[in-house]
């Protein structure tokens, strides 16, 4: 799948997605989704931005099989801020990785809008991760060799070739600085990750996730390693992004209090969504 076709789908669904945002806190919204869920493929219109259908995933530990996901069905609408909660080790990260095309399910499908993405070739999945998804991790996962600005610019460097990057590097730097400004880190541009606090690192990671203007933000316990204040700050940023830019956010957490601040919360129990 090329990004241009996915962009086109995005545009066509934009109008309807906007309409649904009005009442996405209401019971009706989730009811629509549920009925849609029960009656597969009956709706042509994409109410959802990303969806998992009957996803199974197990790990092999020697001879043992560890079944982690056992038929996960989930749909996330465009502009929704969804929290997935579950106990530690229940497979939340695994699910998020599957949605972010970092891994492939053993069975089941993952859709982005109308397009199945779990069976795409590696190059297309690389591209999706670069352009369509923004990923945030519990342990920030910044490159220690690069400073904050460099880390934020990294997805742009990956996306554009050597000359493409060089040609536009002024623009790109401006964009990265603006994003870092937005997460209130303009005073830390030249700091290496080890010179930053946990909250600052996570904010850098958010800026990095946003630099390619993704359609979906996938956050794996973004506050898991932070104290309450810094964690709250991160959640505020995510809520702001969701509200002001209508960014679809899927956040995984084991913390009920954090999860409550999302639009909608689903539970992952024993490999299924409850």
């Amino acid at each position: 799948m090329s990004s241009s076709t996915s962009q086109a789908t995005d545009d066509s669904t934009g109008q309807s997605a906007l309409q649904t945002t009005e009442n996405r806190h209401s019971e009706g919204g989730s009811h629509i989704l549920n009925t849609w869920n029960a009656d597969e493929n009956s709706f042509q219109e994409s109410f959802f931005q990303i969806a998992a259908r009957g996803v199974h995933k197990k790990y092999h530990k020697g001879a043992n099989e560890i079944p982690v996901l056992q038929g996960v069905d989930i749909e996330i609408r465009e502009g929704e801020f969804l929290a997935i909660v579950g106990q530690s080790g229940c497979g939340k990260s695994t699910l998020l990785h599957l949605m972010g095309t970092l891994d492939r399910p053993d069975a089941g499908e993952i859709y982005l809008a109308d397009n199945r993405i779990d069976n795409l070739p590696a190059s297309a999945r690389d591209r999706l991760r670069n352009e369509t998804f923004g990923l945030i991790f519990q342990f920030y996962h910044l490159l220690p060799e690069l400073n904050a600005l460099g880390n934020v610019l990294l997805p742009l460097m990956i996306r554009h070739g050597f000359f493409g990057y060089l040609r536009n590097r002024r623009d790109f730097r401006k964009r990265a600085k603006a994003l870092l400004d937005k997460v209130r880190l303009s005073h830390r541009l030249r700091h290496k990750p080890r010179e930053l606090s946990g909250g600052e690192m996570q904010r850098t990671a958010i800026a990095r996730a946003l630099i390619n203007q993704p359609r979906v933000l996938l956050a794996d316990e973004p506050t898991g390693n932070l104290d309450r204040v810094a964690g709250q700050e991160i959640i505020e940023i995510l809520r702001n992004l969701n509200a002001s830019e209508n960014l679809t956010i899927v956040m995984v957490t084991h913390d009920e209090k954090i999860a409550q601040q999302a639009d909608r919360t689903v539970r992952l129990v024993e490999g299924r969504i409850e």
Partner: protein, 524 residues
Amino acid sequence: MYKLILCWRYLQTRYIALASVISVTLGVATLIVVNSVMSGFTHEMQHRIHGILSDLVFDGHGLEGFSDSRWHMDRIRKIAGDDIEAMTPTVHVPAMLNYRVGQRWVHRQVNFIGIDAKTYAQVSDCSNYLQHPENRMEPSFQLREGGYDLHDRELGDESPYRHGMEMAGWPHRRRLATEEKAWLAAQKKNRPKLTIPERVGRSDPFSGIDTPLRAAESEAGVEQRWGPLSKSQVFDKATQQETGVIIGYALAQVLGHEGDHYFLVLPGDDVKLTFPTAGTPPKAVSGSFTVVDFYQSKMSEYDSAFVFAPIKKLQEMRGMIDPTTGIANVNSIQIKLREGADLEAVRDKLRAAFPPEIYAISTWRDKQGPLLAAVQMETAILNILLFLIIAVAGFGILAIFFMIVVEKTKDIGILKSLGASGAGVMAIFLSYGLLLGSVGSGAGLILGLLFVRHIDSVRKGVEWLSGQPVFDPSIYYFQQIPTLVDPRMIVWVIAGAMAIAVIASVLPALRAARLHPVEALRYE
């Protein structure tokens, strides 16, 4: 872009990788130095060998040689006329050089060569190697009045002093003659009747000559032993010379304990040469000759074996001249080709025209084949050994890269989670290897070239440190260690080192490219 940046950052932060590069640097530097010195030696040696040997040698098998050199030369000219610049006939014969040192006779096995001084100088640079400036201009078998080189011409005044050379030539000969006369007079006074020692067997011309000085022999005795004197019936040693010979420097020279050169024989001394005649079976003939100059090509093989004499004299003494026709035999014809002629092609043309059972035709390279091949083989083996050093460095790079890949597992996961492709990740490590290779071989190149450039200062430094001469010019005959930097060799060495560095980084890079992003991210 990120590839370059990360690659550069890794280079800056992983000094251990730079350590692995040091062996690449050293390997490249040694390769360059060794190759430069070896090709310097080879070049110098080839130059010298070629200075002695003519381009093509046309040999007849056996001591008898072949008849009528003029007819042969005409024929050769007809076959390869365009390529031929000059030709000269020579007579080669194994011989025994005999000269007297104090009370003892010294015998040396030599290669006695009869040449035509004028035309021989046209086919080879041998006259450059003579020790009298005028002989270098125009070689001659006439003894000079003096003025022989007191130091090596190429090495200058720094080189060992040649004791006795200041007297060499006619002054030396006149002194000898006076001494002999004085001795004879003293003998006459002491013992009214001079007894010449009994000759024991005629076949051995030197047996019984055991008197303290050669002067013990009366002129009559000389005549009896060495045949009728050619120039005058009364041979006056002070004013007359025997037929001139030019002998190899190493045949006459000995080293003094402080490194100066002394001579067992000087220009002006008489020596005796014994060699086989051309008949069947060959008989030994002996003749007395006067040394007129030394020949020093600095190829010890030649300097300790060659003795040159006029070809006519040799032909006469060996009985190579047909008494009825007056046509003389020769052993070989030396041919010089014009600049740029294809040696091998001309050789093959001549080989096709002259039957191989009678003639052996070879280029100077063929003649020195074993020596040059030995040097070449040595160079090849050294190259292999040194490349093994770089290969070992390659394994170092391999190990360190694997370490870095393991250490960077998480970063690789991050890059992949941000959309970097396997190829992109692989490129980081490949270019890292390339970068290390180029840094290493670049440093090695600079180091090697500096070493080659200042090799004599290095030598002096080592000599000063160790107190031992490392490179004695009087042994190697070179004032400086000869070096020749061949750009092609440099390109090969650098390319080889780079290739090894890149090949060594392929496996770790592949491993990095294959890393599963999720597992890499979970890696702690």
